[in-house]
């Protein structure tokens, strides 16, 4: 059984970090994982996406996935609100601070979170992606909070180590923002 999540946004939103965090958290909790990354040359503002696949056994999915069963869209500039490769009945999370949920029509299950605004509110403006990841993992059960925090902390390079605490709060805030209604929608 394999599950995939495509994460898209623009450079600077931390897409690569949340991808690595998810894949590492899954690995540390004993699952198989794969992370394929694709990003442009620009340091900020260019396209950034990462796809994580998590499973019980050695990953069979291709490093360039023809389809994905879930997606997190932090910015729709390069992917549109509904990424092309998302399964028609897949699970989509939108960063409604930037992406208009009205643009996300379709049969997929949709959960929106104003991640960028929420991150500012908790004084973690750079951690919107992690906030979203916290929510995503709470909704899907793909990785638990403790493993996410441990993975994120170990992934920070020395010059960003001071952000570990803020990032941790963001992960928690995202999980806390998940409503009973959202949980019900996803479990269907």
């Amino acid at each position: 059984m394999e599950r995939s999540v495509l994460m898209v946004g623009i450079g600077g939103q931390g897409i690569q970090l949340i991808g690595k965090t998810l894949a590492l958290a899954a690995t540390e909790s004993g699952l198989n994982a794969m992370l394929a990354a694709d990003y442009g040359g620009e340091m900020r503002g260019g396209t950034s996406q990462a796809t994580a696949v998590v499973g019980d056994g050695p990953i069979r999915a291709l490093p360039i996935l023809p389809r994905t069963d879930s997606a997190i869209v932090m910015h729709d500039k390069f992917s549109g609100a509904v990424p092309e490769r998302l399964d028609a009945d897949g699970f989509l999370m939108l960063n409604s601070s930037i992406v208009d949920p009205a643009k996300a029509e379709g049969d997929h299950t949709l959960v929106s979170l104003p991640a960028t605004d929420m991150a500012r509110e908790i004084d973690a403006p750079q951690a919107a992606g992690l906030l979203m990841l916290g929510a995503f993992c709470r909704l899907t059960g793909i990785a638990d909070h403790d493993h996410l925090v441990a993975a994120m902390t170990s992934l920070l390079p020395p010059y960003r180590a001071q952000h570990a605490e803020t990032n941790s709060r963001a992960l928690a805030a995202g999980a806390a923002a998940v409503s009973e209604r959202d949980l019900a929608a996803v479990s269907v």
Partner: protein, 364 residues
């Protein structure tokens, strides 16, 4: 090697890091490299990890310098390696031929930018009648196994060996277990230079001309190079590797190597499930090319679809061996990202599927 009680734990590693760890697991103690995408990660990992395991890693000033350092290290009996992408390996051709012809085992990691170096690693641009054994993994876990195998085979045959990697293998992160392969023991390297036989009348010599010394003449270039040619033939007979699925009743066989092989295998599996009589053949050794196995796998097939991301390189070997040459179609092509550093849009399951379906619809 004792039986392993517990499997190694799963670690999420970027491909180049996994390969570096696998090399160190194989007791590689010397590495050289010059930064070049997508090989750079391997050099960086080795710079970090090699000294910690008691070895030496040099960020060299040219690929030529690097491969020659590696030759020197290997001449003393150490397991030594170098690497680059195809452009850098191009600079190393003389030294690779030299290693093949003076029987110095080295491992070369071509973290290629695409599939366009097939000729380079099978025909080579060096000089003379030399061969290099080349393995093309389809993904990171296979690359980890191949790395260990390459050090083993290099020592076993005293020959340079090549890993054909690519950007996907280099940059994808995968959960891998760094499990040591259970490989047979090899004889000690009594040919290696350590200075100890100086002045004894039995001192050693490493030389492509193999003329030996006045008191112990060698075979000389004529016999030495003939003996090497025989060695390569025997390697070719015994070291071919490949994978085949669903070929027994296949009307169509898709042939691909490396990462492309992982994609084509995925699509062929899908098409099989949909009822197509389609099979898959993936050469794992690019040299020696598994020709007889390919012939066997394509026996009776009406179509042999060769998918490679270049202008047609492996297809020449397919033409040599496929059971029916008229059944061969090229369904790949050059496909590069705008950066020139990675694959283009053709390496994608829907694209590949489209091309296979189109070929199935053609009259056989």
């Amino acid at each position: 090697m004792s039986a392993v009680a517990q499997p190694a734990k799963l670690e999420l590693l970027e491909g180049t890091t996994a390969i570096a760890r696998a090399a160190i697991l194989s007791d590689c103690r010397f590495f050289t490299g010059y930064p070049m995408s997508p090989f750079t990660g391997l050099l960086e990992s080795m710079s970090d990890l090699m000294p910690k395991s008691g070895g030496s890693c040099v960020n060299v000033e040219s690929e030529i310098e690097g491969v020659n350092m590696t030759l020197g290290a290997a001449a003393t009996g150490a397991r030594a390696a170098t690497g680059s992408c195809g452009q850098g390996v191009a600079l190393m051709q003389e030294a690779i031929a030299e290693a093949s012809l003076n029987e110095t085992p080295i491992v070369i990691f071509n973290m290629a930018r695409n599939q366009q170096d097939y000729f380079q690693c099978t025909r080579g641009g060096g000089w003379g009648d030399y061969r290099t054994l080349t393995l093309a993994p389809k993904d990171v876990p296979e690359a980890v196994e191949h790395t260990q195998l390459l050090f083993h085979l290099a020592d076993k045959y005293r020959v340079p060996t090549i890993l054909y990697g690519d950007p996907l293998i280099a940059q994808t992160r995968v959960g891998v277990r760094l499990q040591p392969l259970d490989l047979p023991a090899l004889p000690p390297k009594d040919w290696a230079l350590d200075g100890s036989l100086g002045g004894t009348g039995r001192s050693r010599q490493i030389w492509t001309w193999a003329l030996g010394k006045r008191n112990a003449p060698g075979p000389g270039p004529d016999r030495h190079w003939q003996e090497l040619a025989e060695k390569f033939e025997s390697m070719a007979a015994s070291e071919q590797r490949w994978e085949a699925q669903h070929v027994d009743d296949a009307e169509t066989v898709v042939v691909a190597f490396g990462s492309a092989g992982k994609f084509t295998e995925y699509v062929v599996d899908e098409l099989r499930e949909e009822g197509h009589q389609i099979g898959h053949f993936r050469p794992i050794t690019l040299w020696p090319f598994p020709g007889e196995a390919l012939a066997e796998a394509t026996r009776g097939a009406r179509r042999v679809l060769v998918f490679e991301l270049n202008a047609g390189q492996m297809i020449e070997d397919v033409r040599q061996f496929a059971d029916d040459r008229k059944a061969i179609r090229a369904i790949g092509g050059i496909s590069s990202a705008d950066s020139g550093l990675s694959f283009g849009p053709l390496l994608d399951a829907p694209e590949i599927r489209g091309r296979i379906i189109a070929a199935l619809k053609e009259e056989a």
